[in-house]
Symmetry: C2
Subunit: 152 residues, 2 copies
């Protein structure tokens, strides 16, 4: 990040589209689809037991805030997880959008003051040690929206 | 684009997440939400009669292929448009993902050879004079996927 430009973001502190979360039933098959069809490669995989997902991050491009934009493929690890419920209701597809910020707590506080319900009172741990909060989709035009601060 | 770096993309020729298309019932209200909540500003607005949408492009960040990533807000202009049908079935939310390429015809041909149905036999006109094709969501893990080549 040290050599990256530091553009001034908008007042919310959001400086990039960090990732698009995509719910899938079979993570390995989804990874193979994105690799063989488009050439997108996995940069990171992990299991998040709290959220009940196995996930893979596929890097699409770098961004001018020194970060990058990813697809995040999400397979549920248990039937009571949010992603499992999403799949039962909607089938496979886009699950959420995540915007990157340098200070997730400050961004969440500012956005909360504008009338959007922040679903996490304290940031919790997201992919690769990031800190994240989710916003209520009913306050965001039907889009489940995440704010994410990278660990590095 | 002339001063931008030209990273080598994957074999598909896709070098960025160009935009996320979001279906909304009231474009002006949606623009105001994204402006007042996050500080994202409209860079471009137009009506696409062929697709039956009024749309606005909100720039989120620049990308390392010399392009940018946008949110594309889409309001239907007639009830038989694809976006109107999407809203009737799903309500407001994410409608499609679009990946940027320098040669949409070549990318579509290569992706089509990998077994994905390309819904447009010839690229058609997208936002701001871009050339676009759509891929069948059933071949793309439930994600309606667009390929886009910028006009400039």
């Amino acid at each position: 990040m040290s050599n990256a430009p530091s553009p001034t973001g908008p007042f919310s502190g959001l400086t990039r589209l960090d990732h698009v979360g995509i719910a899938c039933r079979d993570l390995d098959a989804s990874i193979e689809f994105y690799r063989s069809t488009y050439g997108f490669e996995v940069e990171h995989e992990e299991v998040n037991e709290e959220q009940g997902v196995r996930e893979a991050m596929l890097r699409i491009n770098g961004t001018d805030d020194g970060g990058a934009t990813y697809l995040q493929l999400l397979e549920p690890t248990r039937e009571d997880s949010p992603v499992a419920k999403f799949l039962a209701r909607n089938g496979e597809g886009v699950h959420h959008l995540a915007f990157g910020t340098g200070d997730v707590a400050a961004s969440a506080a500012g956005i909360g003051e504008r009338g959007v319900r922040v679903l996490d009172s304290e940031p919790r741990t997201g992919t690769a040690g990031s800190r994240i909060v989710f916003l209520h989709p009913k306050d965001c035009g039907g889009v489940l929206t995440e704010l994410v601060q990278s660990a590095h």
